[in-house]
C-alpha cells in the first residue's frame, strides 16, 4: 500500500467517525454516509477499479471521473445548504414578526410604561 492510500483511508475513517459521534441524524442519512465511506475505501484500495468504470463510460482516468462527480456533488450540496438557509431565514422572520407584534406600541399609549 502506498502512503497516500493509507492517509486517505485514515482521513475517511476519521470523517465517518466524526459524523457518527457529533451529528444526530436519521437512519437513512447514516446508511448513506456508510455506503459512501465504503465506496471511498474501495476506490482508495483498488484505484484500477475506478479506472475500469471510467473507461466504460468514456472517461480516460478514474481520478477524472471522480473529479467530475465530486464537483457535481459539491454543487448539489451548496444548493441543499442554500435552501436550508432560506428555511432558517423564514423561521427567523416569523419569530421576529411575532415578537414585534407582541411588543407593538399604540398611538394612545404614551412612552411611560417601561424603558428598554
Amino acid at each position: 500500500m502506498r502512503p497516500v492510500q493509507f492517509i486517505l483511508i485514515v482521513l475517511l475513517l476519521l470523517l465517518t467517525y466524526v459524523y457518527f459521534s457529533r451529528l444526530r441524524s436519521g437512519l437513512l442519512d447514516r446508511v448513506i454516509v456508510l455506503v459512501f465511506a465504503a465506496i471511498g475505501i474501495v476506490m482508495t484500495v483498488i484505484p484500477d477499479f475506478t479506472t475500469t468504470v471510467a473507461n466504460f463510460i468514456g472517461v480516460g482516468r478514474g481520478v477524472d471521473l471522480f473529479f467530475y462527480l465530486a464537483i457535481l456533488g459539491l454543487a448539489f450540496m451548496c444548493l441543499l445548504l442554500y435552501s436550508k438557509i432560506r428555511d432558517l431565514e423564514a423561521s427567523i422572520t416569523d419569530l421576529t414578526r411575532t415578537v414585534a407584534t407582541k411588543g407593538a406600541r399604540s398611538p394612545d399609549k404614551k412612552d411611560d410604561e417601561h424603558t428598554d
Binding site: 442554500y82 427567523i92 422572520t93 411588543g103 407593538a104 406600541r105 398611538p107 394612545d108
Partner: protein, 227 residues
C-alpha cells in the same frame, strides 16, 4: 376618514429624517404603522415616542419583511386601505390622496406609484437612476408578466381585501417584484398613478444601486428555483 387608512412605513437607520418624514402623515390624520427594521441608531427611541403604532424587529430582516409585518398588523387593527410609504422623505404625502382615489371609487384593488407618468416628475429623475429604473421595468416585465412604467417605486396603496391576498416572502428588496407576481396570480386589478419623488442626497444614497439591482434579480431567480 383618514383613520382607516393605514400607512405602513418600513424604517432602517433613519434617526435624522424620520421625525420630519412622519409628521406630515400625522397631520393628515392617517394611522401610521412605523416598523423599525432592527435599526442600530436611535430610530426606535424616536418613533416609540410619537403618537403612532410602532413596532420593532429585533434583528434586521429587510424592507420586504418590515412591510409584511406592518401590513399584517394594520389588517389586525381594522385598516380599510393600506399604503406603503418609504421613510427617507422621498415621497410626498399629498400623493397618498391620489393613490387612494381609484381604490375609493372601486376601480382598482392595488395602486402603484410611478414617477414616469408626469413630465414634471420624470424630469427630476437623475439620468443614471432613470436608466437603472427602466432596466428594472424590463426585468420586472419579463419575470412577472406585469409591465409598468416604473420599477421599485415604494409608494403603493391597496384595499383591505387585496392586502389579505398579498403575502411577502421576499425579505429584502425583491419584494417589489414579488408584489407584482402576486397581483397577477390573484388577478387583482391595478393601476399606476403619478407620484413625485423628492431626490435629495439622502434619498439617493438610500436608493437602489446597480449592485443592489443585480442582487435583486439574483434573489428573484433563486426564488423561482426554490418555489
Amino acid at each position: 376618514m383618514n383613520e382607516s387608512v393605514f400607512v405602513v412605513v418600513p424604517i432602517y437607520n433613519e434617526e435624522r429624517v424620520i421625525r420630519s418624514a412622519l409628521q406630515p402623515l400625522l397631520e393628515q390624520g392617517y394611522s401610521v404603522v412605523a416598523v423599525d427594521d432592527g435599526s442600530a441608531d436611535k430610530t426606535w427611541q424616536i418613533i416609540r415616542s410619537l403618537p403612532i403604532y410602532s413596532l420593532r424587529h429585533a434583528v434586521n430582516l429587510g424592507q420586504g419583511a418590515a412591510l409584511q409585518t406592518g401590513m399584517t398588523f394594520a389588517l389586525e387593527h381594522g385598516a380599510r386601505f393600506i399604503v406603503h410609504f418609504d421613510a427617507d422623505g422621498q415621497h410626498s404625502v399629498d400623493d397618498i390622496k391620489t393613490l387612494l382615489e381609484p381604490l375609493r371609487k372601486g376601480e382598482a384593488d392595488v395602486v402603484l406609484g410611478s414617477r414616469f407618468l408626469r413630465k414634471s416628475d420624470r424630469d427630476v429623475v437623475p439620468r443614471a437612476r432613470r436608466l437603472l429604473l427602466k432596466g428594472g421595468v424590463v426585468v420586472n416585465g419579463l419575470l412577472t408578466g406585469v409591465w409598468l412604467t416604473d420599477a421599485h417605486n415604494g409608494c403603493r396603496a391597496m384595499t383591505r381585501d387585496s392586502a389579505k391576498k398579498i403575502r411577502l416572502n421576499e425579505n429584502r428588496f425583491a419584494h417589489a417584484s414579488e408584489i407584482l407576481i402576486q397581483i397577477r396570480r390573484n388577478r387583482l386589478r391595478f393601476v399606476e398613478m403619478p407620484t413625485t419623488i423628492i431626490y435629495t442626497d439622502h434619498s439617493i444614497a438610500k436608493g437602489q444601486s446597480m449592485w443592489n439591482a443585480i442582487k435583486i434579480v439574483f434573489d428573484m431567480i433563486l426564488r423561482r428555483i426554490f418555489r
